[in-house]
Each structure stands twice: as structure tokens, then as C-alpha cells.
Amino acid sequence: MESYLFPFDSLICMLLGISFTVWFTLLLVFIIVPAIFGVSFGIRRLYMKSLIKLFEWATLRMERGAKEKNQHLYRPYSNGIIAKEPVSLEQEIQEMRRGGAEPEFDMSDIFYFCRRGVESIVDDEVTKRFTAEELESWNLLTRSNYNFHHISTRLTALWGVGVLIRYGLLLPLRVTLAFTGVGLLVVLTSIVGLFPNGRMKNYLSDKVHLMCYRICVRALTAIITYHDSENKPKNGGICVANHTSPIDVIILASDECYAMVGQVHGGLMGVIQRAMVKACPHIWFERSEVKDRHLVAKRLSDHVADTSKLPILIFPEGTCINNTSVMMFKKGSFEISCTVYPVAIKYDPRFGDAFWNSSKFGMVNYLLHMMSSWAIVCSVWYLPPMSRMEGEDAVQFANRVKAAIARKGGLADLLWDGGLKRGKVKEVFKEEQQKLYSKVLVGSSEDRSRS
């Protein structure tokens, strides 16, 4: 009985051995070595182009399927559900007053608030920023499909193949790369940490960081286009960018070396943080220190004052936004007097949604989603450096930088606080509205008494 199995046994072992060797050689040649030297074969771009063609075909099929059944295809409200008119409270009330003999208060004043209120129920600027953006065409991921009943058999087959490729081929590949990248980062930075401080150490640290981040970039199949590299951040400055996901860090750090800022974590993150800080100075805060704004400001100022240290990378929104808008920048990083290098990051949502909805998914779930998407495609724009002008306070400066980033990235520029993802809006905004209306009322009574 057993003698039958022996030849097959050794055959299987041989096959497995060969396939593993081939696998790892390919990995090394096509991914790890280019990552070390920062070159690219262009495989990822080719992959991206073929995917686009595929998605367009898929959408056409769905439209055809819908037409055959004489049904409507669901169209996401990318243009908005309603058209809002930007009329202010004062303008509207003046218009209504013109009809009558200028009463102090008119029962029709309520119409303005009523309409505005219902408009915000139908479509508001804030709540839609905290969920993933909806797509025009389908990208063969179940998570972004809204037209289930329009899928033909051919399309389902294609989707099935897609699932196999993504989970069977791409995911294991990416996970392997991710482990390699992180492992190398921890090991190599610890080794570099043994060197005495000096130019050699800085040089090695830069190279090691860049290499490991590049491997991580390939672990996500991230296809990044950097624009305006002449504006790259320099030592002694702060780099600010809009925040969509934790991956933003990897995307920026694979092109240029930064000093990171963050809270000290436990577990794996903690290990990585401790290793990184051996090679070059990053700024890690204890939980308790984060509350102390003066301490935070002081440490940041000290770091930028030392021009041998790398530029600091900060995300002033404080939370992840879904990459359709830029929300309020916290003024803390703009109070430090130094050059600010704004960076705009815009993801292409067709290939994979990079937004981390932290209220819905935990970190591991999120990373799994990322690694089982087709790819992460994004553009990074380095904007020219900005400094605080005379007579400008931190808030105004922050808004100016925010507007520049929003403009470059094609994102909506909002004044709302990203903290609204979790918290309630402050009462003071309602009081402002009430004050505005009172002024209109009382103002007209003053006119009356004068005439």
C-alpha cells in the first residue's frame, strides 16, 4: 500500500520546493531589489491601465442589463441631490420685507430657517465626509456595488475570477511583503542605531527608512504619482497634509524622510516605534503628555529649531476624512514659527477605497480590505512652502494652508471640524445664528424709531 505513495510523495515535495524557490526569486527580483534602489519596472502602471478598461466594460454590461429589464440603474449622487442657493439670512429677510410696510417680525421669517433645515436633512456638507465615496462605475468589488440585481452571469463569473485573484494571489503576496517590510524596518533601524551619531548614521537611516517604506508601498500595490518634487519639504520645517488613512504616512515617507509625530503605542506598533527612534529622532508622546499643549508645542519647536533633524510630518485634521474634502485644521502646528510645506494627497477611488472609517472597521479589518483591493492609486502634490504673514494669527494661517491644499487636490474646503465624526457640534454655532437673526429684527426696529 505505502509503496504506491512514495514516488508521488517525492514528486510533490519537489514541486513544492521548486514553486517556493520560483516564488521567492520572483519576489526578490521584481519587488524587493527595485524597492532597495528606488526603481520601477512599470508593471504596476500596466496593471492599472488594464483594470480601468475592465471596470468600464463592467459598468457598460450592467447598464445594458438594466436596460433589458427596463429598470433604472442606480446613480450615485455625485452631483448632489439638490441645488442649494447661497442666500444669506439677511438677504432673504430683506427680500421678504420689501413687500410689506416693514413690520418688525414677519411670520414668513420662519421660511428661511425651515428651508435651510430641510435642505441640510437632504444633503449636508459634513456627514457624507465620514463614509466612503460612492463610485460612478463598478470596480468589481462587492463592497461598492449598489446594483446587485443587474449583474449578468458573465459579470458574475468575472467577479468570481476577481475574488480568486485578489484573495488567492494578491493577498498572500502582499501580506508576505508587508511582513518583510516591517521586519526589515525593525531589524535594520536597530542595527543603524548602534552607529555613533553623525553623517554616516543619518545617511544609513535615510536609506533604510526609504527602502522599507518602498517595500510596504509595494505590499499595498500603491501606484503613486508625485508632482512638483522641487517643493519637497526640507529640514527645519513642518510638512502638513490632508488625512484619509494611516497609509498616508507610508505614501509620503517612501519618497522623502520625515520625523513622525504620534502617541506611544503598545504591542507591535510600540516595537516599530522604539526601533525607528533608534535610527533617527522621531517625536513620540506619552498618552499623558498629549493633553499638555505647551509641552507638545515646545517639543515640536525644539525639533524644527535643529536643522540637522528631519522635517516633521503632521496631519492637522486630527482624524481620517473620506478624501472628498479637507476639514478644519487644528491650529497647534501652525503656532510654531517655521516654514510649512503643504502636501495634498488625492486617492483614485476606482481601484480601492483608502478611507479608514474607524467607527465601522478596526485596523486589522481595514488593512485586510486594503490588501484585497485591486490597488491603491493616488497623486501627491508638493505645494510651495508657506510661512505665517505679518498680522496673521494661527487660525488664519491654518485656513490659508488648508485652502491651498484643497484647491490643489480638487477637494472641497470646509470649515467644519473633523471631530464632528464622533462628537456633537458646539452650541456656540447655534448661538451665532440666533444672534444674526436678532440683529435683523432689532436693526429694523431701530430704523422704525428713527423714521
Binding site: E85, M107, S144, Y146, E432, Y437, L441
Partner: protein, 195 residues
């Protein structure tokens, strides 16, 4: 996440809502998607908290009154039909020309129904008349702490005096309509829904 909402809404439901409210097919699916994204509890109905999560509505001085208008008497949940029925009041009036096959009776977005919606914002206890007290409360909501009680009281008195024709010191719906007969209600209480 985007929403799979449109697949949860059946064609018959869409047709019924179309007949009742006059919205088009695509408007209904988009509004359903919006309804679904507001429904954090995912139970097919919105509660008051779901509305209050909208920052622009939370800072509206009459936010609570508007939210109240969506909920029928004594209920805490509004389903999609109820949501659409309330929103239908804000459809522009010209659109009626296209949908002549609406159910008989007055369309939800007629001038009279728009005025009724506004009237109900004032009428806190739903007894079909606006008393001096109710008017004062709504005024207080709109101005906050910026106007004194006496001034507000005199504003309320003057308003009731001008509107009240039958001397009961309250404003009924017909008196309300009369006061606002020159106001372009159709335009002020309409929202431009995109197709």
C-alpha cells in the same frame, strides 16, 4: 460604505411613493440612499438622534421644530414613506405640470400644504391655532438670548394683533394664510431637487 440601499427598496414601493409624492424614480432612489446613510441603527427608520447628528441642522435655531415635523403624533420613529411624505412638501410647484397622474386631491407640495407645514412649526401643541405663548416660544428659539422678554412680548402682541381677525387672540390657519397671501410661498418653501 456606499449603500446597497437601492436593492432594498422594491419597485412597487418606488411606484407608490412616486404616485403619492410626485418625485421621480432617480430622486427616490437617491433619497433612499440618503435615508439609509442617516439611519445609523440600520433598522429602516430614523429617530430624533439620527437627525440631530447632522451638524447644519443642529445649529439651526428651529432645528428641533423641523425634526418634529417628520414624526407623526406620539411616534419616535419615521420610516422611509413618512420621510418622503414630509420632504414632498418641498418639491417645487412647477413640477406638478409633468405629473398629472398624481393621486386625486391636493398634491403635497401645493401652496396650501406648504403653508400648513410652516403653520405647524409654530403650532407647538398641534391644536390648529397659534397662541401668544406658542408664538413667544418659537420667537425665543429664533433669537436666543439676544432680545429681552418685554421686547419679544411686544413683538408677539403686535403680530397677533395684525393677524387676528376673529378676536380670539390666536392665529388660526386661515388667518395665517391671509397674512402671508402676498408672500411667494412657492419659491421660499421649495428645494430644487436635481433629477
Amino acid at each position: 460604505m456606499g449603500s446597497r440601499a437601492s436593492s432594498l427598496l422594491r419597485e412597487e414601493d418606488i411606484e407608490e411613493i412616486k404616485r403619492e409624492t410626485g418625485f421621480s424614480h432617480s430622486q427616490i432612489t437617491r433619497l433612499y440612499s440618503r435615508f439609509h446613510s442617516l439611519d445609523k441603527g440600520e433598522n429602516g427608520a430614523l429617530s430624533r438622534e439620527d437627525f440631530q447628528r447632522i451638524p447644519e441642522l443642529a445649529i439651526n435655531p428651529l432645528g428641533d421644530r423641523i425634526i418634529n415635523a417628520f414624526f407623526p403624533e406620539g411616534e419616535d420613529q419615521v420610516n422611509f414613506r413618512g420621510f418622503m411624505r414630509t420632504l414632498a412638501h418641498f418639491r417645487p410647484v412647477e413640477d406638478n405640470e409633468k405629473n398629472k397622474n398624481l393621486t386625486s386631491g391636493e398634491p403635497l407640495n401645493s401652496r396650501a400644504n406648504k403653508l400648513l407645514f410652516a403653520f405647524r412649526l409654530y403650532d407647538l401643541d398641534r391644536d390648529d391655532k397659534i397662541s401668544r405663548d406658542e408664538l413667544l416660544q418659537v420667537l425665543r428659539m429664533m433669537v436666543g438670548v439676544n432680545i429681552s422678554d418685554e421686547q419679544l412680548g411686544s413683538i408677539a402682541d403686535r403680530t397677533i394683533q395684525e393677524a387676528d381677525t376673529n378676536g380670539d387672540m390666536c392665529i388660526s390657519f386661515s388667518e395665517f394664510t391671509k397674512v402671508l397671501e402676498k408672500v411667494d410661498v412657492e419659491q421660499k418653501m421649495s428645494i430644487r431637487f436635481l433629477h
